[in-house]
C-alpha cells in the first residue's frame, strides 16, 4: 500500500517538477530516487527487477526507447547493491557516495544502450545538456526524498 502511495507521489512530484522548472532545465530523476529508496528494502534480485520495471515504465511514459531507462535503473540498482556492501549505508557520507555512484551507474547504463543502438538514433551529445541539471537537481533532492522514504516506507530489511 505504502509502496503504491510512494509510487503515485513520485509520479505526481515528477510531473509537478517537470511543469514547474524552466524549459532549459532537465527535471530531477525521481524514479532513480524511488529505486534507491527501494533497493535496501527488497531482496537484491527483486530490487533489480523492480528497477527494471520502473525503468520500463519510465521509458513507456516518456515515449522513449524501451530499455533506455530500464537498463539505466538496473545499472543503478546493481551499483547501489555493490557499493552498499562496501560502504556504510547508514552513515550520511557513505549513503551519499552510494547515491552518487548509483547515479553515475545509471548514466553508464543509458550510454550502454545508446552505444548498443548504434549512436545514430540518440547520441551522448544529446544527453550532455541533460546530465548536469538532472544530476544537480536529483542529487540535491536525494536527501529529502530518501528521508521521506525512510519515514514513509517499511524498514530496511535487506540493507547492504
Amino acid at each position: 500500500m505504502r509502496w503504491g502511495l510512494l509510487f503515485i507521489l513520485t509520479a505526481l512530484l515528477a510531473s509537478i517538477l517537470a511543469g514547474l522548472l524552466p524549459e532549459a532545465w532537465a527535471p530531477p530523476d525521481l524514479w532513480f530516487l524511488f529505486v534507491v529508496a527501494a533497493v535496501p528494502r527488497l531482496a537484491p534480485a527483486w530490487s533489480l527487477v523492480l528497477a527494471f520495471i520502473i525503468g520500463l515504465f519510465s521509458d513507456l511514459t516518456s515515449a522513449g526507447y524501451l530499455g533506455l531507462h530500464a537498463v539505466g535503473l538496473t545499472f543503478a540498482a546493481y551499483a547501489q547493491l555493490v557499493l552498499a556492501s562496501m560502504l556504510h549505508w547508514d552513515e550520511w557520507l557513505g549513503r551519499g557516495a552510494v547515491v552518487v555512484g548509483a547515479y553515475l551507474a545509471k548514466w553508464a547504463g543509458h550510454l550502454l544502450v545508446v552505444y548498443w543502438l548504434g549512436l545514430f538514433l540518440v547520441g551522448p551529445l544529446n544527453f550532455s545538456g541533460v546530465f548536469l541539471s538532472e544530476a544537480v537537481l536529483t542529487l540535491a533532492l536525494a536527501p529529502l526524498y530518501l528521508a521521506f522514504a525512510d519515514r514513509f516506507l517499511p524498514g530496511e530489511d535487506h540493507a547492504g
Binding site: 512530484l13 511543469g19 516518456s62 522513449g64 526507447y65 524501451l66 537498463v71 538496473t74 547504463g109
Partner: protein, 258 residues
C-alpha cells in the same frame, strides 16, 4: 545470483531497445498517451505554479518598468518644458531682433526685484563678465524694460521705465510729436507732451528720442488718461501704463548700447 539477474535484465533491456527501436516511439507513445492523465494533474500544477511565479516576477518587472517609465516621463516633461521655454525665449529674441534692434548682447534672467517699492529696479543674473555694460537698453518682447545703471562682474541692475529716476524720450506711434516719460511707481508713467501733440487714451507710446539711449520704435506704454493742460500752458501730461508687465518678467533682452 544477483549478478546473473543484473546481466539478464541488462540483456533484456538491450534486446528490447533493439526490437522496439524501429517502432519507437510508436509503442511507447501509445502508452504515454494513455498514461498522460496520470501526469496531467501534476504537470498542470507545476505549470500553474511556474506561471504564478512568472506572473509575480513579471508583475515586479512591470512595476519596475512602470516606475522607470514614470521617471522617464517626468524627465521628458521637464525636458519638454525646458525646450518649450527655450523655444519661447528664442522666439522672443528673434522677435526683438527683428522688431527692435539688431544688437542683442545677451538674454539675462531676472534674479531679483527691488523690494522697497520706491524704486522699480531689477537685478539681472548676468554682469560685466557677460558683456553687460551701464547704459545698455533692456527690452522684452512686449516692450521696453529699462536701462542698465549698475554692473558687477556677474550682476547688473536695471532701472525700469516706471522707476522714479527714469526719463525716456517717447513719441506716439500714430501721430507726430515727442515727449518725456517719467516713471511713477509702482506701475505707471507720467508723460509730458507739448500741447501741439495730440494724444488720447489708448494711444501707444514708443521710444523715439533723437540721440537717446534706446533704439527707436520700441513700445513703452499705452496712454490711460490725458490730463488737460491749464490755460496758457505749453505742455500737458498724460498718464500711461507700461506695456511690459514687470511682475511677469522672467528674463530680459539686453541690447547693445547706442
Amino acid at each position: 545470483m544477483v549478478r546473473a539477474v543484473w546481466l539478464g535484465l541488462t540483456l533484456l533491456g538491450m534486446v528490447l531497445s533493439v526490437l522496439t527501436a524501429r517502432t519507437a516511439p510508436t509503442v511507447a507513445a501509445e502508452l504515454s498517451a494513455r498514461s498522460a492523465p496520470l501526469f496531467y494533474v501534476g504537470d498542470r500544477i507545476g505549470k500553474n505554479l511556474k506561471a504564478a511565479a512568472y506572473a509575480l516576477v513579471d508583475r515586479r518587472r512591470w512595476r519596475q518598468e512602470a516606475l522607470a517609465l514614470e521617471r522617464q516621463v517626468a524627465e521628458l516633461k521637464q525636458e519638454n518644458l525646458r525646450l518649450s521655454l527655450e523655444n519661447q525665449r528664442l522666439r522672443r529674441t528673434l522677435k526683438v531682433r527683428e522688431s527692435q534692434a539688431p544688437g542683442v548682447v545677451a538674454i539675462a534672467p531676472i534674479i531679483a526685484e527691488d523690494p522697497s517699492g520706491l524704486f522699480r529696479r531689477l537685478t539681472l543674473g548676468l554682469g560685466e563678465a557677460d558683456g553687460l555694460r551701464v547704459g545698455m537698453p533692456v527690452t522684452s518682447p512686449g516692450g521696453l524694460v529699462g536701462v542698465i545703471i549698475e554692473t558687477t562682474p556677474k550682476r547688473a541692475v536695471v532701472r525700469t521705465v516706471v522707476d522714479p529716476e527714469s526719463a525716456i524720450g517717447v513719441r506716439p506711434a500714430d501721430v507726430p510729436g515727442r515727449g518725456i516719460a517719467r516713471g511713477r511707481p509702482p506701475a505707471s508713467l507720467r508723460v509730458r507732451f507739448p500741447v501741439e501733440v495730440e494724444v488720447k487714451p489708448g494711444d501707444l507710446l514708443i521710444t523715439g528720442a533723437i540721440g537717446g539711449l534706446f533704439p527707436e520704435g520700441i513700445p513703452v506704454a499705452r496712454v490711460t488718461r490725458v490730463i488737460p493742460p491749464g490755460p496758457g500752458a505749453l505742455t500737458y501730461d498724460v498718464e500711461a501704463r507700461p506695456v511690459v508687465r514687470f511682475s511677469m518678467l522672467e528674463e530680459v533682452i539686453v541690447l547693445r548700447r547706442l
